[in-house]
Symmetry: C2
Subunit: 351 residues, 2 copies
Amino acid sequence: MKIITMAHGAGGEAMQRLIKDVILKHLRFDPEVSVEVSLEDLDDSAVVEDIVLTTDAHTVKPIFFPGGDIGVLAVSGTINDLAVMGAEPLALSSSLVIEEGFPIEDLERILESMRRTCERAGVPIVTGDTKVVERNALDGIIVTTAGVGRRSESLDRNIEVVRRYREFEGRWLKDSNVRDGDAIIVSGYIGDHGIAILSFREGYGFESEIQSDVKPLNKMIERALHEGGVVAMKDPTRGGLANALNEFAAKSGVGIEIFEEKIPVREAVWAACEMLGIDALEIGNEGCVVLAVVREMAESVLQALKETEEGKDAEIIGYATKNVRGVVMRTSVGGRKIVEPPVGDPVPRIC
Amino acid sequence: MKIITMAHGAGGEAMQRLIKDVILKHLRFDPEVSVEVSLEDLDDSAVVEDIVLTTDAHTVKPIFFPGGDIGVLAVSGTINDLAVMGAEPLALSSSLVIEEGFPIEDLERILESMRRTCERAGVPIVTGDTKVVERNALDGIIVTTAGVGRRSESLDRNIEVVRRYREFEGRWLKDSNVRDGDAIIVSGYIGDHGIAILSFREGYGFESEIQSDVKPLNKMIERALHEGGVVAMKDPTRGGLANALNEFAAKSGVGIEIFEEKIPVREAVWAACEMLGIDALEIGNEGCVVLAVVREMAESVLQALKETEEGKDAEIIGYATKNVRGVVMRTSVGGRKIVEPPVGDPVPRIC
């Protein structure tokens, strides 16, 4: 009998196969409504009749970790998934499944954290659901958020700027929009979230130096769109930067070349990765986005990002190019390394 | 230490207190967007800038039961929550949390069932998420669906018809819209879903006669709105008909009088309730809705419902009235019984 394994949830190849060979195969049907970005696009959100919709279940362990908790994670993750499509996040739903015996004090901490994150982003939770299951039927709490967004003036303006420099099809920032020559920007340090949780969970001790950077990024993204020239964005959660870049490359049919020394990674995160034998590029993030920007606007978008608190450590890390296949990294010592889509997740249950 | 108990998820008073004293208290904030129906309305869906949003987590046990499974339940529940606001359901998201070791064959059965239900309703799943947790961190699978809907011509037409007979504020079918004189209609037999699951789970043997009636009701509801005169609708899930009617009464500030002999309950469901000491009015339903309709249109809406497969057993069960407080039932033997909001759930984990 074929069964679900941890790899099926790890954001790598096994999960891609589960999604394509099982989930998409069974859920496929042709609706009457106009679906501009569908399930099969495997983007961060879907777009139906100009309404943007996304969802994520959160099973992070432990639920409270250095720099955040399951509440800020759930709200930020859903807001960021809407924002990277170019949408203005409008409202969220929150669905709680709670184990009998769960401390109400912990629930209150999580809810407070959700509200604070909503306030920071300016996006309310407008509807919800609460289910309780018997003791041992669940390990604590699962928070599933969904979100809706809509087109914003900034998105229209952004696409107008893109079209000054090259052709651009469609009306949304899809993973498949990247073209030869586009600059690839990361909006901040990578690896903080995953290493902070892993270290705290396993008691490695790095958490004194590394905290999760989980946060809503819609205001930073709004600033970048207002500048203009962004063609695609991605929330590099499960599978990390390696997965995000490979999705851009595969869906857009273009190679991507990145430069190791340009990738913002904290010393402590490098050290932790080195010690634990983990590739920093494969660690899930919750506080940064990857942007593909028309080359002529790359510097302006970078400056716009750097002017925001959330994007002050942004860097141009490489370019889309026809000269390579897949994702290739120029290493600090001058070598070339193929960045494969991760097979599994080096750090499970961080989101 | 205060902890979460099963009663907190049971759709009765304990859950209402958890929602009001804990969840709403912490999540409350004033957003900039226009929220027409908010978290605090505790309706089946929220409405933000004319987009209708709802969500539900599904933890039904067992996941396959007579007449359905967690897949048809998740899709139907979310579509019905949108439809009872008067919205046209547009699209769904689906978030799966799966226990390591879960049979892929079972996952495929669930997904097939979701797709068939989507097809029946004409509403696609457009985005999703999949998480896997370690063995024993979860009892099988949780399916959380969210859905978006929008205003339909039928809703506008329906409200136009209402306004021929009386004043009607607002633009949506909220629980607070019921007024003195409105007729209360139930669209079909109550109790089938809860008793089918309970009987199957506990081996009582009624499941040979009683199957769950879980199904999407958007097309039936569309037919009723097209007829016109509906002021409020409710999906009588957790807490059953007793809870739905008490919510109408409390939020609308009007009494409701119902007639026991008019309530459609199957013989086998009565027998099961009798034997198990359960009140049929408190059992959660997934295949019928409760409608409040201006009295002058009640017969026409009833006929419209009866013309549909899903509503063929509909009945007018009573009226809103200033002459009683809360919900009062005239019993078959001529007595009067107060229908209280249920304290807990007589049949847990049926949705």
